[in-house]
Symmetry: C2
Subunit: 339 residues, 2 copies
């Protein structure tokens, strides 16, 4: 492998001068710089990060720890956001997946440390509280889409589930709906309670009584092996004599079943029943006909912001074990009609 020394030799300068050129340091004649750059090009020299790290002990590398990436496909956007940030800022990303095993998580932390990473982005694919095994370690960490269970106060970034559900509920209310159904998300997810609260409170603010609301549990049980009541719940809900004119469902994925249940009952969307989802999981929200009005979860932004926050923590801007929240954006399509 061609090293800094071969370049120095080829350019007829010292290794330090080459180092200066590589790192864009000042105090190099334009002429020398060019000569060195030519040598670099000619020899196809590429700096060795490992050697650099060993001296400067700043790896410019972030680690990402995820849990069940695969089970919630849309949230890969978080990772994409992180990668894009890293790419734009010259950082490298090391990635590992716990698969839910805390033994593995411990190994990962160790592996990260052996690479002397600058910081960790702890990403969960469902919004929930977790307890990173960081434990004894003092690596700067930012949590994305989750928050620490203990009071350790790591900074975290989460989507604003409350605001998203509030917007959606208002949207329905503004269009005259006064009987509204809600299919609840799995209660073990952090977002579930927030979304439900927002739904209830917003409806109340508009003067709806609890009896105007049909609230049903859509799913429950451990992630990846949950019990699914959505279809049955939606069917039952729509068979009430005083059936809702609009249904809001915990997420877009569940909405598929709401659509099918509605249609199986011979009801039309949105003429007979308006429907909104949550997440803007486009594989679903755009595939449904009519296309689904929903609230977009800011996954990409979560990743981008998370990386940026971690960076500032690493840079020493301590002082802020903050919990930041990113807004959800209502995406209006055609599954809702005014009554």
């Amino acid at each position: 492998m061609v090293s800094i020394i071969s370049v120095a030799k080829a350019a007829g300068v010292s290794n330090k001068t080459v180092s200066r050129v590589i790192n864009g340091e000042p105090y190099v004649t334009e002429e020398t710089r060019e000569r060195v750059e030519k040598a670099i090009r000619d020899l196809g020299y590429i700096p060795n990060m490992a050697a650099r790290l060993i001296r400067s002990s700043r790896s410019n590398t972030f680690g990402i720890i995820t849990d069940y990436v695969s089970t919630t496909p849309y949230s890969v956007d978080i990772v994409r956001g992180i990668q894009d940030w890293a790419n734009a800022n010259g950082k490298t990303i090391l990635m590992a997946n716990t698969g839910g095993s805390s033994k593995r998580e411990a190994e990962i932390w160790k592996m990260f440390q052996s690479h002397r990473i600058d910081g960790v982005l702890y990403v969960t694919m469902y919004r929930r509280t977790v307890d990173p095994e960081a434990g004894d370690v003092r690596i700067p960490t930012v949590m994305i889409n989750c928050r620490p269970q203990t009071n350790e106060l790591l900074p975290s970034i989460e989507p604003d589930d409350y605001q998203g559900a509030q917007d959606l509920t208002r949207y329905l209310l503004d269009r005259g709906h006064r009987k509204i159904g809600y299919i609840r998300l799995n209660p073990i997810l952090l977002g579930a309670q927030l979304r439900l609260d927002a739904f209830r409170k917003t409806a109340a603010e508009f003067g709806l009584a609890e009896s105007d609301l049909s609230i049903r549990l859509g799913m429950e049980g451990p992630v990846g092996a949950e019990k699914n009541y959505v279809f049955a719940a939606a069917t039952e809900m729509l068979q009430q004599k005083d059936r809702p004119t609009a249904i809001m469902s915990g997420n877009d994925e569940m909405t598929i079943q709401v659509y099918i249940a509605t249609m199986a009952l011979g009801l039309r969307i949105p003429e007979d029943v308006s429907i909104v989802g949550f997440d803007d999981f486009r594989t679903v929200s755009l595939a449904l006909k009519p296309e689904l009005t929903t609230a977009a979860l800011p996954y990409y932004a979560l990743g981008l912001e998370g990386a940026d926050l971690l960076n500032s923590v690493v840079a020493g801007n301590k002082a802020r074990p903050s919990r930041r929240v990113m807004p959800c954006k209502l995406v209006e399509r055609t599954s809702v009609q005014s009554v």
Copy 2:
């Protein structure tokens, strides 16, 4: 940071002896070994990979290059497969995403080289042919879910789209269907032609005429901005006087629209129309009611095998710029009925 030397000092041995213990080399007394291990534990010593690499020039790191991870959510399973392999074999994963930009791809290759990675897994999220910018570089590379456009003959691993579609078609044929519809995948995807061919040939083998087949284009155009004809195509197909008794669709995502179109026409699934998908994208295939019979794409296996293949290439087992293919597995659920 605690280094090998502090450990050596604490254990009262030389640094080389510590190194021997860390790397599980022979010729160390059990007693010495224990003393060293204790020192390691006491001091919380963690080996510095960068320092190790600089001497041994084997980074034990693989790079993953992906294109549009986010647009095809299910294929994150490929990455999970790779990660699991890496985890089980003590390798580290560096990950980067081109976002489709070849300028960025070039940067990524450079970045990977600066980390002296042992090999690259080139993963595309849709099966298609690509031309990795590897170019001048001689890093061992394995392509997953795609194949080299040029004849450069990099080893590749792909799903067996043909066999998957064949199985699905036979499944329908075996159950007595003799009028079958097919909604085609976007033709720019490698799998599209293979699946269609398999459908046609298998139907022909069973003695069906071309006129027994209703074949419609479901999508076309650039990935991420395709035009979508699925709903219209399915509706039209089912309104023919001699309508198919079964529909096969390019993938599960498209199947959502097929379901909705079918139901909107007042037809029941599977009593009036049987439906099969492709991919086993579970977010969809399990959410549909009745649950969808489909062919599971071996994404996880692709990742696992790809990493393993790369490893053997790196280890020097040249000789095989092979193109390996992994089978799709038919997943039987309840969307098909015999006629």
